[in-house]
Amino acid sequence: MVRERYGESGIRIVFGDIIDEITHEAVRRFFLHLTSLNIPGIVDIVPSFRTCLVHFDSDRVRYEQLCQLIDTTEADRKNMVLPDVQRLEIPVRYGGDYGPDMDFVCSYSGLSPEEVIEIHSAGTYRVHAIGFMPGFPYLGPVDRRLYVPRQATPVLKVPQGSVGIAQLQTGIYPFESPAGWRIIGRTMMRLFDYTKPPYSVLHFGDTVRFVRV
């Protein structure tokens, strides 16, 4: 674990250099533990693939205080019993109007649409981060055979529920949005509801399987 200051009001904690389950668990442990402490002055904690970014309000808590707290609670974190993750199945309609980039993915990968669908829906993916927009899950790892680059220029608008792939990741756009990933399908499941806690259907660490419908 490496801790560094991020600007004036951030602390960045790095748990590893690559994307793997050990790093993910360390991030999740840190995130859940620090969240459970309810420290006044911590504004946000953003967990991701290999780091956690702690955003604090310097009027309410000092940087040095937080660093000390982080450094002295290592043992508590280790002993913390982690809650189970949700295992979610998400229904997807692949291809056609639902997946306008299916042709690109096929020609880039040399696979048929059937194969793309089979491979994409065979995987169990980890929620490695939620961001870009509310409730957008960064899911991975995706089978190498489905590797595609991002769009060089993002598409201006994809519909809510669009399921995309890029590099070794897959994700779902919870709102109509510009998109840099290749869209291969769409889900009707609502991933984010700002009117009801906990707002996001998915949480950091959950697992997702896509089910073809």
């Binding site: 004036e8 995130f31 946000d44 953003v46 967990p47 991701s48 961001g131 509310p134 009117t195 950091f204």
Partner: protein, 315 residues
């Protein structure tokens, strides 16, 4: 109540922002010029959580159907209340039936209007700020349109006159001189192209592109070179408002208030006291980046807080 007769280019409801949900991707969506928002409230003696309007462009027109006091802060504007010039950065009483018009923005980009009451919209996830992209918060999750009616709750009548003297109003014109601290991937770039990060006498000169909004500000100018051996992107992770990312094309993007995660190398992070300047960058404005250190950033921040505190106490 207040009727929007003309919403100008873009008008929306903002407050201090939506915090505590960064882990599910919810960004602050706060008013971009926090000092201006705070001063609008302080001038009116309003509570810290009171929302204000954030407005861009000429032509705003509001009809007051009840007597209310308002304050305009942020970008320097020329306006009238029933054809009598209005003094910005101070209290103005609007009688019932009066009409406020903003004819011209003289310096800066976004201006703010606060009222002696609370704009009656429901908070969403703890904030009344508008998340334009996802269409929630603020006024039905969208910019104000002609004919919209804003109801005010807890309207009060502030006594006396409070205004901010000219010398206390920050400059909002260009060039925008923005001070930064080095970002986590500062060493991804060729030392020659980021010399400014290790030398206070150096600076990087850019122009703001036309691609700018509350999500990000894309800069144009000399492309920043990556080191040959460096990755051109990162494994996506958390970013804060004011993080300057550099995509593979070398042209920096300043993260404003609508993103919590980024995937580009982070060259630098704008210091707190200069964040408000993001509200006033217009397309083709000159933007100059120069480096500072945490101690100076803290000192500058304290000085700014003292300015705010000075006004709070005076009330």
């Amino acid at each position: 109540m207040i009727t929007v007769v003309n919403p100008a280019f873009l008008s929306m409801i903002v407050d201090n922002g939506r915090f505590g949900y960064g882990h599910i991707g919810v960004a602050p969506s706060s008013g971009l010029d926090r000092f201006a928002c705070a001063m609008a409230r302080f001038i009116l003696g309003n509570i810290d959580s009171a929302p204000v309007l954030e407005i861009m462009g000429n032509g705003l027109s509001l009809l007051f159907s009840e007597a209310v006091t308002f304050a305009i802060t942020g970008a320097r504007v020329k306006g009238t209340l029933d054809d009598v010039p209005v003094e910005p950065w101070s209290r103005t009483k609007a009688p019932k039936g009066s009409v406020l018009k903003i004819s011209e923005v003289l310096e800066g980009c976004r201006y703010y209007i606060g009222f002696s009451g609370t704009i009656d919209v429901d908070p969403v996830m703890g904030s009344r700020s508008t998340n334009l992209e996802c269409r929630f918060g603020g006024y039905q999750g969208r910019p104000l349109m002609k004919g919209d009616v804003l109801e005010l709750r807890e309207v009060y009548d502030p006594v006396g006159h409070i205004s901010v003297p000219d010398e206390r109003i920050p400059s909002m014109g260009e060039p925008h001189i923005i001070r930064v601290l080095p970002g986590p991937e500062a060493d991804y770039f060729s030392p020659l192209s980021v010399k400014f990060l290790s030398n206070r006498n150096e600076a990087l000169f850019f122009k703001a592109s036309a691609r700018l909004n509350r999500t990000g500000i894309r800069l144009e100018g000399p492309a920043i070179q990556f080191r040959d051996e460096a990755e051109q992107s990162i494994i996506s992770e958390g970013i804060l408002p004011g993080t300057i990312q550099v995509p593979p094309d070398g042209l920096p993007i300043i993260n404003c208030v609508e993103r919590t995660i980024g995937g580009y190398a982070r060259l630098a992070i704008i210091i707190d006291v200069d964040l408000d300047k993001l509200a006033h960058i217009k397309p083709f404005d000159r933007v100059i980046l120069s480096v500072t250190d945490s101690e100076e950033a803290e000192r500058l921040l304290q000085a700014k807080k003292d300015t705010v505190a000075f006004y709070v106490k005076k009330q």
